[in-house]
């Protein structure tokens, strides 16, 4: 039985094309993936991200425990700030990638991938139980009681505050990666200036019971600016264009954040943390494979996850494989991400992607593949 978010009825009302995603029945698209993608790049798009998980960590020992469990340095976070970070296993592989926010001095919110909620929570619980001073931190899975939407695009900041007339601050003034409490119709919601599209945008976390009213209010507030409900299809093409990793593709328990090109989010200098020994060794010696972005040389069949990547002059062994691939709606050509041997990872390396037995020429390019004009 697939799980449904509190916005399921709203999706049906909009005629969503529903698909299974990580155990959830979610909208793939409403009007069409390309149309929704372009709405986000030029105006505004509204995504249901209620399937994602939320954990609350609080107490005097919470920061210390999270700084051990996660790769980024949580001490950099002031109250009201968030950071992208990775939950690693002992081998430096990624249990998940997530956002952590410092809501208050001793209170944190973790936003995790839908398909990893159970794995993450039991992993964190298990390590909290044996962490020295772990008794001074409390961890709660709030995924069922909370829902969330992402509202993304260059025009969002201009209308978002119409949804929060009673708030003392404005969302438009929120710095990137910051989070704050806003008043929505007398209830408190959390608004962060974050997203997964490469555009300016916000994510809003609210009690499940409030989310449909918030969804409708956002669609109404953005109507004049051309807001569109957008599904997982556009979410995937948008994030691929800007080379954000998707768990299960660019990261998994056997792929380290350094292999995935996420070294910026691994604070090797902060002291000991889970996976540090392996990650420090990878940093010193280099990894056996590296994530690279590529663009097909000509329009044609788009690259897909699992396709092999080859040296432009052939060879008997593949250089690597595609982890994410699609047709870029912004560039109108096939694009993708892949794990390749390090010598193939520099930009402007000519490669070939095997599409059903044919080697189609492609070029490794600098990340992100698409940059907003």
């Amino acid at each position: 039985m697939l799980k449904r978010t509190p916005l399921f009825a709203a999706h049906q009302k909009l005629g969503a094309h529903l698909v299974e995603f990580g155990g959830w029945e979610m909208p793939l698209c409403y009007s069409g993936i390309i149309e929704e993608h372009k709405a986000v790049r030029t105006a505004a798009g509204l995504f249901d991200i209620s399937h994602m998980g939320e954990f609350a960590a609080r107490g005097p020992g919470a920061a210390e425990f999270l700084n051990f469990a996660l790769t980024n340095d949580i001490r950099k976070l002031q109250k009201g700030q968030g950071q992208y970070t990775i939950l690693c296993n002992e081998r430096g592989g990624a249990v998940d990638d997530l956002y952590v926010y410092r809501i208050d001095e001793e209170e944190f919110l973790l936003v995790v991938n839908a398909s990893r909620i159970d794995a993450d929570f039991s992993w964190l619980k298990q390590h909290l139980n044996v962490f020295p001073g772990g008794g001074a931190a409390e961890l709660k899975n709030r995924s069922d009681e909370l829902a969330a939407v992402a509202v993304q695009g260059p025009k969002v900041a201009a209308f978002l505050d119409h949804c929060f007339p009673a708030s003392s601050q404005t969302a438009a003034a929120l710095p990137k990666n910051s989070i704050a409490r806003f008043n929505f119709d007398g209830s408190i919601v959390l608004v962060s200036r974050t997203g997964y599209t490469g555009e300016d945008g916000f994510e809003i976390i609210a009690d499940a019971g409030l989310i449909e009213a918030l969804w409708n209010k956002l669609l109404a507030a953005g109507q004049a600016d051309g807001i569109k409900a957008a599904g997982l299809g556009a979410r995937d093409t948008l994030r691929t264009e800007v080379c954000y990793p998707l768990y299960g593709h660019e990261l998994d328990e056997s792929i380290s954040p350094l292999e995935a090109g996420l070294g910026y989010f691994v604070a090797l200098g902060k002291g000991d943390f889970m996976g540090r020994a392996v990650l420090a060794q990878q940093k010193a010696q280099g990894t056996a494979r590296k994530l690279a972005a590529f663009k097909m040389a000509a329009r044609g069949a788009p690259p897909r996850p699992g396709y092999s990547i080859w040296s432009a002059d052939g060879g008997t062994q593949p250089a690597g494989h595609v982890t994410s691939g699609t047709q870029s709606p912004s560039l109108d050509i096939g694009i993708g991400l892949g794990l390749v041997a390090p010598e193939f990872s520099p930009a402007n390396t000519a490669v070939a992607v095997d599409v059903r037995g044919r080697r189609l020429p492609a070029m490794i390019v600098a990340r992100p593949i698409y940059r907003r004009p």
Partner: protein, 128 residues
């Protein structure tokens, strides 16, 4: 969702449609299929002259989301393909039964057509 299933066509369970014209047949994918695939961005068609057997994968329709094999509903020789799709693959979405056709066969075993689905039975198959 109201499904568009023209009554004058025959259908395969795998969502191709067939327009019979004497001993030839024009083949495409149904409105239901294009909707399931979402935005089509590339179509790989068989070479003219290729002989295909009923049920053989002989074309690929690529959407933003995924690549899907297209199976020839009947046996025969490919005598024409829709060259417009190279420039305008989105015709498969916007006009699946006319401008979005895929290829044309000269049938080697016209009798096979009797095993295709009528519009009525195909509509039943795709009913939610």
């Amino acid at each position: 969702m109201s499904e568009n299933v023209p009554a004058d066509l025959k259908y395969a369970k795998s969502h191709e449609w067939v327009r019979l014209e004497g001993s030839a047949a024009i083949i495409g994918i149904s409105d239901h299929a294009q909707h399931e695939l979402t935005d089509v961005v590339f179509v790989e068609l068989p070479a003219a002259g290729r002989k295909v057997a009923a049920g053989e994968a002989c074309a690929v329709v690529e959407s933003v989301k995924t690549a899907s094999d297209i199976y020839s509903p009947l046996s025969g020789e490919v005598v024409a393909v829709n060259a417009e799709l190279a420039k305008h693959p989105e015709l498969v979405n916007s006009d699946p039964y006319k401008a979005g056709w895929l290829f044309k066969l000269n049938l080697s075993q016209p009798g096979e057509a009797g095993q295709l689905l009528t519009a009525e039975s195909y509509a039943k198959q795709i009913a939610p």
